[in-house]
Structures are given as structure tokens and as C-alpha cells.
Amino acid sequence: MKSNIFSALRLTLVTIVFFAGIYTALVYGFSFITPNGGKGETTVQDGKTYYTNIGQSFTQDIYFYSRPSAVGYNAAGSGGSNKGPNNPEYLATVQARIDSFLVHNPGVQKSEIPSDLVTTSGSGLDPNISVAAAKVQVKRIAKLRKLNESTLVQLIDEQTEKPFWGMFGPEKINVLKINLALDQVSKSIQ
């Protein structure tokens, strides 16, 4: 037993050096040759830097909305609502989101709203919306920005990220990227 404790202590120390020290150092060293230098992927526009993968809150009507978030898109934390699918309080919240969306988007039928626009994501930082969620917002944005609807539909087509290798997983739109592009389109027209 006694020899076990000494062996265990010493083995623990050397394995800490190896797996918490050397392993971490190797990965950290390698991070400098990766595209983002291990600091997270960023997008720069007009001198401002944004994290591409960390969703942002878009609630203004002139932008494509992002999904609701349980953490308000503040990436100091992360998490979902953790509401059960049949929780009455939760369903009332979703109903309120639907009502609000219909008020801001006159002419849109309830059945046209895809559920990702009225539900929170798992991380609260989802950077994406579905293609249907972008299309259902075209009318509102076109009117407010005085753009042709066809221009926006074309923008959505350009911004649609295909499944991985064209074969695996869902199609999606990065809300930050499409809104940055949207600002560019508006600017070029003025």
C-alpha cells in the first residue's frame, strides 16, 4: 500500500507534466501556424473585427434577425433555454415571439415562419439561420432599405452555405456575414 502511494504520487506528477504541460505546449505551438493563430475565426469590415462563428444579436428591422438567445448573445457565457417542449410558460414565450414577428413583418403568414426563428439555440450563440428564415424576412428588409426583393433573394442565394462537401448536413446562412453584405449592397446603391 505504502509503495503504491509513492508510485502513484510520482506517476501523477510526471503525467501532469506530460499531459497538461507538454501536450498543451505542442497544441499551443501548433496554433500559431493555423489560419487564425488559435484566436478564433474573425471577419474584418470597415476597420471593425467580429468573431465569425460567434452569433450576434440582430433585432433591428433593417437587418436579418438572428435567432432568439437564452444568453442574449453575450459570449461571456453560453447555454440554451432548457425548456421542455410542452412547458406552458415556454410555449407562451414562443407565441409572443411569433406575434412580434408578424407585427414587424406584415403580409407574412404564420405558417411561413420556420421554427428556428422563434426558438433559442443550444449555445445561445448560434451564428446561423436557415435559408427559409432569411427568405421570410425579405419583404420587410426590402421595404425598409428600399431595395428590390429580387436583389435580396440573390443575396440570400450567394450567402447560402452549402452542406459540407455538398453532401453532408444542412444548408445555412451566417447572419453576421449576410448582414455585412447587406450593408455593402445598400452602400453601393446610394
Partner: protein, 561 residues
């Protein structure tokens, strides 16, 4: 074909294709045969053992191995408590996060040494980088502990009679250096190339396009996430685990993380077959596990892709399925697949919030942890399955009137008693824990995030996840209270070490028995018929023990309009 379904099929196929060569490599490592990485790891291991004062060639009995295993786990626990309760003032704490309270540190330290990784804190605000790196170290060594215990069983089941079964330290260190370490480097590199951070700079402050000022937590994420999956640990760097866009930035990283968490449980089965030269037995085991896995997975995927009936009633469309608690980049199908993969193999990492899944998915996630032997965690999965093999051998022996034998060794009363105790321990811990939680609503009612049946499911899930050493949760549960931290902490200890000691003891006892060569009268254990027997034993034990509890939780929710 639907791209979401195709993605899942490819993930499964890729795991299998990678697990076959890895299994044969692992069999070589454990059999002390030559491998192509010897030039690197022979000197490293010699050095580590020399500094530790350990002779890794010294043969040990199963009792000596278990003593060594428990002792070193105790050292990690004490050290873990010390680091977590003092991280606030120790170095590598750029975000100035506080030290943990005693009961939270107790729960967290246990949770990480037992490979469960129940997390009653959020990484962003609950840990310093030093704390994170220490937990990362625990993820390496806890996975290697489970693998070492499985290898002891491999040695015990060899043809012949043995008193000693190799050396625990040898199995343990080789699992960590030769198997976990190199694959983790590859996985971490892929993650970093796809946007996962690896930095020590602390939180960043950014102004969003719309003008909101927010903070962005960062850290040495890539190194952490790699071992979190490969070691079937599942403890997330951030609160949202692998739903977080830094832990899991894209569908491609999602595939890589998915494959890496199922890789070693798959490979361990093939290593077992190759090591013992019983490949057919390994394939029978793998087939039974796969059937169990598919039976849980398919209804979950169907239910989640169809979406929530309550949402249909509100009148919105659900082209993407049930999206509450899910990320767009993974979609409902692969999140549903992940939710079952992570619960059968005891990873417990999540890429969507299980609390918000449909009741059908909830039933299957719970059943996955209640059976706890379809693939199973690093090393321990095969140990859990071994218990069911012993039970099935005994039942079949009674049915056909033959002496129960497994791999040429008689199964007698002592082994059966151990197997029964271990098989019953799991339902006992889950049901007794949940019953206690329900009996003391003063401690638990205020921690629930959902009313009625779903609230009950939150408590049932917490104890099931603890007893299965899984670590996922219905995260709505406000679980950082003395009640949850301490009660789950004790369940974690019992449900980790007894299911390791039990199977190793059975195997150790069998190893010492006389070997009886196979004859026409031997019950064959590598046939489909025997596979069905094992499956039936698993189904009966899990279904009979857990059905009433499931009926009060997700089943009741399913049938309530």
C-alpha cells in the same frame, strides 16, 4: 438522399473503418508487440517510469492492480480538490474567476476522475485556465484508467490458467501515451484549422454590428476538446459544451468530434477479439451493441426531424425539425444522432440541449444510459457488457442443462453473485437517488426548470447520468446546490469503481481456474443465438427495472395532450 441523413451514415461508417486498424494497433500495444511508434514512446515511457520509480514489467494479481488503480485515483481526487478550491489566486486566471466552493469542488473532482464529467458549473465563469488544464489532465488519466481495467480482463480471459495479469501501470500509461495522446494531437489540429481557439489571452470585448458591446470567452479550447471526446469524457470547456461555436465550429468539426468519441469504444471491442484471437466473438458483441444502438437512435432521429407537436399547434413550420436547444449548423438529425451516441458511450458531451428534446428522444437517451453497455465508455463499456455475458451464460446454461462456461472457464456461484450485484447496483443507485430527491422536495423542487412530468425527468436524468458515469444532463436543473453536488458525487464513486472492480474480480477468478478445452457439449458464445440471449438479458434487466420510472417521466409527457 437527404444530406442530414447522409452525414450520419458517413459518420458511422467512418468510425467503423478507423476503429478496425486502431483495434489491431491497440491489441499490439497491449500485447507488448512491436508497433511503428515504438521509437518515440519506448524512451518516453522508460523515462516516465524511471522518474516514478515503477517497474512496469512486474507482474501483478488482479487484487494488486485494483489497489494500484484505487490509490492513484485517490491521489488525483485530493489534488483535484486542492486545485479547484484554490484556482482563484493561482496563476493562469486572466478572467479572474473565483475558487470553487467545497461541495462543488467535491462534485467536479470526482466527476472528472470517474470519467463522468457532470458539470455543475459553466467553464466561462467557473474555472481558471489552470483549473481547465488540470481537468484536461484528469480526462486523459481517467480514460486510461478505464482502458487499463479492460486490458486486465483481456489478460484474464486468455487460454490457460493465470495468477498474475500483467501490470496496471503499464496498461495505464501505454493507453494514455500510445493511444490517446497521438490521436488527440491530430484531432486538436483539425479543430484549430477550423476555428477552435487555443489561446491564453482571456476574454475579448467586441462591439457587434448592431452596436451592442459583448464579451467573448476564449481559452485553450482545442487541446481540451480533443481529449474530451477521444476519452469519452465529455466535460465541456464552455457551459454549452459542444453546442458552443468555439468548441464545435462547423459540421465538419462536428463529424470529427462525433467520430473521435465513438472511436475507442469501437476499437476496444476489435482489440479484444484480436488480442484473444476470438474475432468472431468480437463481431458478435459488436453486432449486438450496434442493434441496440440503432434501436435507440432511429426513433430519436425520426422524432426530432419531425419536430415538436406543440410547435405545430402554434402554427409555425418546422422544416428543420425540433430546433429548440439545437444549432443550425448541425441540424436536428445529427444532433439527435449525437444525443444517443453520447448517452450509449458515456461521453456525455452534448451539441444540443437534451432538456428541450421531444419525449421520444428523452426515453431513448435515458434508456441508453440505463442499459449502459452498447459500446459504452473507454474500457468500461466492454466491462459492463462482460457482466451481461456472464448473466446470459448462466441463464442459457440453465435453459439447456449444461454447466455454464465462458471461454473455457466454469462460471460458478461466486462469479454469479458478483455479476448480479453489479447488474442490480445500476438500477438501485438511479431509482434510490431519484426516490430520495422526490421525497425531499424542500431541497430539489426549487431547482427544477420545468413543471410536472418533465420536471421529474430532470431529476431522473441527473441520477441516471451520474450512475452511468455519463455526464450529460437536463441542464435546466439548477444543480449547483449541496444536495445535487453531494448526492450525485457519492453515486459517481459507487457507480464507477464497483463496476470496474466487479468484472475484473470475475475475470481474475476465472483466470485462476482450470481451462476446459471446447467440446461438443460446450455452449458457444460467439453465435447469433447467444448474441440474442445477451440482448434479451440486457433488455429484461433495463426494461423491468426502469419502466415504472420512465412511465412517470417522458412516457407520461409523451401521452399528455
Amino acid at each position: 438522399m437527404n444530406t442530414e441523413i447522409l452525414g450520419i451514415i458517413v459518420m458511422f461508417a467512418a468510425t467503423l473503418l478507423l476503429a478496425l486498424p486502431l483495434g489491431s494497433y491497440m491489441a499490439k500495444v497491449y500485447g507488448n508487440e512491436r508497433t511503428f511508434l515504438d521509437f518515440l514512446f519506448n524512451p518516453i515511457e522508460r523515462l516516465l517510469f524511471k522518474v516514478s520509480g515503477i517497474d512496469a514489467r512486474q507482474e501483478q494479481t488482479w487484487q494488486q492492480q485494483m489497489a494500484a488503480l484505487l490509490t492513484i485515483n485517490l491521489v488525483w481526487f485530493v489534488l483535484g480538490m486542492a486545485v479547484l478550491m484554490n484556482q482563484g489566486w493561482l496563476p493562469l486566471n486572466p478572467d479572474a474567476n473565483p475558487s470553487m466552493s467545497g461541495h462543488l469542488a467535491f462534485n467536479t473532482a470526482i466527476s472528472f476522475i470517474v470519467n463522468c464529467n457532470l458539470q455543475h458549473y459553466s467553464g466561462e465563469s467557473g474555472l481558471s485556465y489552470l483549473g481547465q488544464l488540470f481537468l484536461m489532465f484528469l480526462q486523459f488519466v481517467s480514460a486510461a484508467t478505464g482502458m487499463a481495467a479492460a486490458v486486465t480482463v483481456f489478460y484474464a480471459l486468455r487460454t490457460g490458467t493465470y495468477q498474475t495479469l500483467g501490470n496496471f501501470y503499464n496498461f495505464f500509461l501505454k493507453s494514455a501515451t500510445r493511444i490517446l495522446f497521438p490521436i488527440c494531437l491530430i484531432v486538436a489540429a483539425i479543430l484549430m484549422f477550423n476555428g477552435t481557439p487555443m489561446t491564453f489571452e482571456g476574454k475579448d470585448t467586441v462591439v457587434s454590428l448592431q452596436g451592442d458591446t459583448v464579451q467573448v470567452s476564449r481559452g485553450p479550447v482545442a487541446a481540451f476538446v480533443a481529449i474530451k471526446h477521444l476519452g469519452t469524457n465529455g466535460g465541456g470547456f464552455f457551459g454549452a459544451n459542444s453546442a458552443h461555436p468555439f468548441e464545435n465550429p462547423s459540421y465538419w468539426t462536428n463529424m470529427v468530434e462525433m467520430i473521435s468519441q465513438m472511436l475507442i469504444p469501437f476499437a476496444m471491442i476489435f482489440a479484444f477479439g484480436i488480442f484473444l484471437k476470438r474475432r468472431k466473438l468480437a463481431w458478435t458483441i459488436f453486432s449486438v451493441m450496434t442493434i441496440g444502438f440503432l434501436l435507440l437512435t432511429i426513433p430519436t432521429i425520426v422524432a426530432e426531424m419531425k419536430g415538436s407537436p406543440a410547435m405545430d399547434q402554434l402554427g409555425v413550420s418546422q422544416p428543420g425539425g425540433n430546433m429548440e436547444g439545437k444549432e443550425l449548423r448541425f441540424g436536428a438529425a445529427s444532433t439527435a444522432y449525437w444525443s444517443i451516441a453520447t448517452t450509449v458511450i458515456s461521453t456525455g458531451s452534448v451539441n444540443g440541449m437534451h432538456d428541450s428534446f421531444t419525449p421520444v428522444a428523452g426515453i431513448n437517451q435515458l434508456l441508453a444510459m440505463m442499459t449502459n453497455c452498447f459500446y459504452g465508455g473507454c474500457g468500461v463499456g466492454i466491462l459492463n457488457y462482460f457482466i451481461f455475458i456472464i448473466l446470459a451464460v448462466f441463464v442459457s446454461g440453465l435453459m439447456v442443462g449444461r454447466t455454464p462456461e465462458f471461454l473455457g472457464k466454469k462460471i460458478e456461484a461466486k462469479e454469479m453473485k458478483i455479476a448480479m450485484i453489479i447488474a442490480l447496483l445500476h438500477p438501485f443507485l438511479i431509482l434510490a437517488g431519484t426516490a430520495l430527491a422526490v421525497s425531499f422536495p424542500g431541497y430539489t423542487a426549487g431547482t427544477l426548470n420545468n413543471p410536472t412530468f418533465h420536471g421529474f425527468s430532470e431529476m431522473l436524468y441527473e441520477y441516471t447520468s451520474s450512475a452511468a458515469n455519463n455526464g450529460s444532463g437536463y441542464e435546466g436543473l439548477g444543480d449547483n446546490t449541496p444536495w445535487w453536488n453531494i448526492s450525485t458525487g457519492f453515486i459517481l464513486i459507487l457507480s464507477r469503481y464497483l463496476p470496474i472492480i466487479g468484472p475484473v474480480a470475475i475475470a481474475g477468478i476465472l483466470a485462476g481456474k482450470k481451462y476446459i478445452p471446447e467440446s461438443a457439449g460446450t455452449l458457444k458464445t460467439d453465435t447469433g443465438t447467444f448474441g440474442i440471449m445477451v440482448f434479451a438479458v440486457i433488455a429484461i434487466v433495463a426494461a423491468l427495472a426502469f419502466f415504472p420510472a420512465l412511465a412517470l417521466g417522458p412516457i407520461a409527457e409523451l401521452f399528455t395532450k
